[in-house]
């Protein structure tokens, strides 16, 4: 494992166990509902759909009966480095409006919609395609129940700005506010988890502070089965995946023939 840049106090991160993930899509639905991701009048153009948590399906490419399928849920990776050793994310370095920043105290990459000018550089810079552009204003049809689930703590996005997963940052603020009411300054592990973590029926997602050795994520991230997407770009993502299957681990990066080293 790499040394881990312990720059800030907290480094919130996620571990997703791909062996547990069934690809059901509950995380994606819970995420969209929690974060006021709007629907569109015409939903047919899926290339412009916004999904902060996207699920990719991968197969080992072998014919029946050796076929195996796995799913990659992909939130924002909240990268800690830009790939050149600087303590900032690839998207943050290119933002001309300072609309996106890596918060050194939480490790969360913020996105301020009122500051974003919609140039989409960050979208191009993101190796994980975790950023989405709003081609239309937020739209929540009345009388269909969609307006009833809106989260008041998450502001809806306007046309012409980029949005992405925020690790449900409003939940962190909510947990902090509650802690203050109870005369605490620090929050417990279970007080702040993302909507996808909470919703996952297989409990494949674990969320917590990677800097805190008591949190499950910091232990899981050090597992020999842990790996990250496109790890060799050196962006130091804070989303880890677990898989015991070598073919899954191999698909997480672009390896040359004979370059990949299997676990066993």
């Amino acid at each position: 494992m790499e040394k881990g840049p312990d720059h800030g106090k907290h480094r919130y991160g996620m571990v997703i166990d791909l062996d547990k993930c069934t690809g059901c899509g509950t995380c994606a639905v819970a995420c969209a509902a929690e974060n006021n991701v709007s629907v569109r009048q015409d939903e047919s153009d899926k290339e412009r759909s916004i999904s902060w948590m996207q699920i990719f399906k991968i197969t080992n490419g072998k014919p029946y009966p050796d076929t195996e399928v796995s799913y990659f849920p992909r939130p924002c990776m909240h990268c800690e480095e830009d790939g050149h050793g600087h303590h900032t994310s690839p998207c943050v370095t290119v933002c001309v409006a300072t609309a996106t920043k890596l918060d050194p105290n939480s490790g969360i990459v913020s996105q301020i919609y009122t500051r974003c000018i919609g140039c989409r550089y960050c979208q191009a810079a993101c190796p994980y395609k975790a950023r989405y552009f709003n081609w239309w204003d937020a739209y929540f049809p009345k009388g269909k129940g969609l307006d009833r689930y809106l989260t008041p703590e998450v502001s809806p996005r306007m046309r012409g700005v980029v949005e992405k997963c925020t690790f449900c940052h409003h939940r962190l603020m909510r947990a902090k506010t509650r802690a203050y009411a109870e005369d605490r300054r620090e929050i417990e592990e279970d007080e702040y988890i993302t909507a996808c973590t909470e919703a996952c029926p297989a409990q494949a997602i674990t969320f917590g502070d990677l800097n805190n050795p008591k949190h499950r994520v910091s232990r899981l991230a050090k597992s020999p089965n842990a790996f990250r997407l496109l790890e060799r770009l050196n962006t130091k993502p804070k989303v880890y995946y677990l898989s015991t299957k070598d073919w899954v681990r191999k698909l997480a990066d672009n390896y040359l023939p004979d370059e990949f080293k299997p676990l066993s």
């Binding site: 920043k101 918060d103 105290n105 301020i112 502001s155 506010t177 009411a181």
Partner: protein
């Protein structure tokens, strides 16, 4: 020749006069007339006498040792730490449902009883400090953890006998209090200018630079 020089001198003087008149005129236009035109002025649905309620000689029951604690008696922090803001009718009725509570002597109080209490209707107060949708402001972090008094940002609102008119920007719809009352941007009191940089300035001054991260106040 002399005549010509004399006349050009006079025209320069006249030019200055025109310039100064125009300059003053545009200053008045920009600093007085434009702000007046930009901001609407709406009266609150009914008056509320803060000074009277804060006076322990006149009103009994509003508990608290400090001014801030007294404010928090009605403008409550909920159990989960969120701020309730302007109290609902329910809160008023905690004291005023007592038949001996002195109500009904002024037209406002009569109004309160007939128009709102009798009909069980909430008073449609206009919130002076309602923040824009992109802003997250936890009162508890400032008032309880940061030990900032209400007065620091809200001024002497608690000493007012009459509620000031609610003034909203006609273009944006936001209250004048959001960015500070003084349109010139000159700052003598906290509430003169309350922009993002002013929040950051105070955070830095108090040694909480980490709270200047974007996502601390934005959502």
């Amino acid at each position: 020749m002399e005549n010509q020089a004399h006349s050009s001198d006079q025209s320069t003087k006249g030019g200055w006069l025109f310039f100064i008149a125009g300059f003053i005129g545009s200053l008045i236009l920009g600093w007085v007339i434009f702000p007046m035109a930009l901001y609407s002025s709406q009266p609150q649905p009914m008056n509320f006498n803060h000074a009277l309620h804060m006076n322990p000689d006149k009103v009994d029951g509003i508990e608290g040792d400090t001014e801030t604690e007294k404010c928090l008696f009605c403008h409550q922090l909920r159990d989960d730490g969120t701020f309730a803001g302007i109290p609902r009718l329910e809160k008023c009725m905690e004291c005023h449902d007592d038949p001996e509570s002195p109500l009904g002597s002024t037209p406002e109080e009569k109004d309160f009883l007939t128009r709102y209490v009798a009909e069980e209707k909430e008073i449609p107060w206009l919130s002076y400090y309602r923040q824009p949708d992109c802003v997250y402001f936890p009162h508890i972090a400032h008032v309880k953890m940061g030990k900032v008094d209400c007065r620091t940002c809200h001024g002497d609102h608690g000493k007012l006998e009459d509620l000031p008119a609610y003034r909203a920007n006609r273009l944006t719809g936001y209250s004048i209090k959001i960015w500070g009352e003084r349109i010139s941007g000159l700052k003598f009191n906290t509430w003169d200018r309350m922009k993002m940089d002013d929040c950051a300035e105070c955070h830095t001054k108090k040694g909480h630079e980490e709270n200047n991260a974007c996502f601390v106040c934005h959502k």
